[in-house]
Amino acid sequence: MKPDENLKVALYQNLVKARELEEQMTKLAGFHAGVGEEAVVVGAFFGLKDGEYCAPHYRGALTAAHMRGADLHRLIASVMGKATSYTRGRVRGDICLPFQFRTLGMFSGVLGNPMNIATGMALASKQRGDGTAVVTSFGEGTSNIGGFHEALNLAACLSLPIVYVCQNNGYAMSTRSDYSIKTGSVADRAVGYGIPGIEVDGNDVIAVFEAVQTALERARAGQGPTLIDARTYRLSGHYTGDNNHYQPSEEREAWIARDPVARLRADLAASGIMDEARMDEIRSAAHAEVAAAIAAAQADPEADLSALGPDDLYCPDDAERASA
């Protein structure tokens, strides 16, 4: 499938909003921004069908949830733990997303869980036989966790409809991927599970989108999982306040030159789809929208103690089921 003009415009809109989100949110305390990685997030989660589920990596998670319909202001309020958060402040909203948008986040700080659980979301798709598929993403560092290997192998054994996207930014905190991963590429690991492993330029949003869509078609057709290694780079710190002192400056410069937003702009301008002025307009609108959402969230009331809910431990029985 070749992306048409409308699709490219939509990708640009999402990409610049993602950039604005990452850049503006990283000024807040304790945020794990993914400046430079937006093309992986947008390319992986754009265009999922309404009935489909996904489980995005925590870095860039807000963009994924927003693309699936979550309200920007409430997402940001959730990061701040405000009363207006999607869970009234019960979970940290930077890494955990509102499930009502069929978007799963982390209910603990333990890496590797969403991509593991997403495997079961794909099992549910298969059990229902409704032709839906699941997309999940995770960092390359997370691909060293035992549960990752179990999940991919299980998905391969059961031929589950799922696409695993590695948001490979080259670092896990300060640990370089060339130190922690001895296959040249995370995609090479797919050989170990007998599934396709595909490497893609993670700073090319169209390339990521196409790779994921192709893998999704395969999954929806019952042909099983795919592992995609999307190569990108984290220009922001691991979290607010990290100054990336461990990243060699030549390496940073090389990746800045491959900035995903600039690249899509060049493509759009060269192909005559949009001129610079129109693209600037879209960017300014995104800037204003994010700034307004942050300001609104900041003005929201703090979490109310009524959300504490000491008796909300269990989901109650369905009367009908319990009495059957």
């Binding site: 299980l154 269990y314 059957a324």
Partner: protein
């Protein structure tokens, strides 16, 4: 009513729910038609439901649990068989860190109707006895069930499958293929969180779980001959615990003995003891004794296995210790 072993009762409950509810399916290692589950824990299921609903998996407890959770939050009711409770450690990350928290942290957006089946306890298997029940019981949001007889096993499994929360269902190997007993012929759920008074008595309350319930019964028979009247309570669900039934009994007897096949340190029923003391301790003497596993790794040789866990004499001694104290 019909007669079943513990194992048959568990499987019968699963069959009833699978017939009733197409979203129920099973996942586990060697649960297919060739092996039918460790100790025949899935006997007959695969023939009846086929590979789509009785899914054989590789040895991947973390992924099996994660997959169970993922399917559960998307509308299915999975039963994941983690062969032995000894392997629960490998499920902790998805189960205790995520599934346990989802209902609360999502503010009611996500429920996780998942059953994890595990075999445990000293028995014919001569291994895999560890239940790690203290570890899983210490995390809020997971229900923990340990039946002591076929009828309870059936009714509690029915309830576990219908429950909208993650439930770990412990199946004790020492009583798994024991004598057949009366069980209801149709599906009757026994509510989770409801203890059963297995024997009424006036002088001392024994709270016992799993295989220890039988042992407590034998001790009570002997003590009755001495003129001591023992009340036996089986909580059946360790979490949530029916503290009210325990309190009502101890309020009457004012003597408590707790018998479990768990390590003494971190046994979830030690928390129950502190709650009893908090609630009733101020009202007068309240002698308490605990009989548990010795606090070491579980030894192998049969004489060592036996000596390391509560036996009849330990239970009777504990009762004597608390009955020495005058009310």
């Amino acid at each position: 009513m019909t007669q079943m072993t513990f194992q048959e009762a568990v499987v019968a409950a699963i069959v009833e729910e699978m017939d009733r509810d197409p979203t129920v399916f099973n996942m586990g290692q060697d649960i297919g038609p060739i092996y039918m589950g460790a100790m025949h824990s899935a006997k007959g299921l695969s023939e009846k439901y086929g590979a789509d609903r009785i899914i054989d998996t590789p040895i991947s407890e973390t992924a099996m649990t994660g997959a169970g959770i993922g399917a559960a939050i998307c509308g299915m009711r999975p039963i994941v068989q983690i062969m032995f409770a000894e392997f629960l450690g490998m499920t902790i990350t998805p189960l205790a860190c995520e599934a346990s928290a989802m209902w609360y942290k999502s503010d009611g957006q996500i429920s996780v109707p998942l059953v994890i089946r595990v075999l445990c306890g000293a028995g014919p298997h001569r291994g895999h006895a560890e239940d790690y029940i203290g570890i899983v019981s210490s995390v809020p949001g997971i229900k923990v069930v340990m039946p002591s007889c076929p009828a309870d096993a059936k009714g509690l499994m029915t309830a576990a499958i219908r429950d909208n929360n993650p439930v770990i269902f412990f199946e004790h190997m020492g009583i798994y293929h024991g004598p057949r007993q009366e069980v209801p012929g149709e599906a009757v759920a026994i509510p989770l969180g409801k203890a059963d008074v297995k024997r009424e008595g006036a002088d001392v309350t024994i709270v016992a779980t799993g295989m220890m319930v039988q042992r407590a019964q034998r001790a009570a028979d002997k003590l009755a001959a001495e003129g001591t009247s023992v009340e036996i309570i089986d909580p059946r669900t360790i979490v949530p615990l029916d503290i009210e039934t325990v309190l009502a009994s101890v309020r009457k007897t004012r003597r408590l003995v707790v018998v479990t096949e768990s390590w003494r340190t971190g046994d979830p029923l030690s928390d129950m003891v502190s709650r009893v003391a908090e609630e009733l301790g101020a009202e007068g003497p309240l002698p308490i004794a605990r009989v548990a596993l010795q606090d070491t790794a579980r030894p192998f040789a049969l004489p060592l296995t036996r000596a390391s866990m509560p036996d009849l004499k330990d239970i009777i001694d504990a009762v004597h210790k608390v009955t020495k104290v005058q009310k």
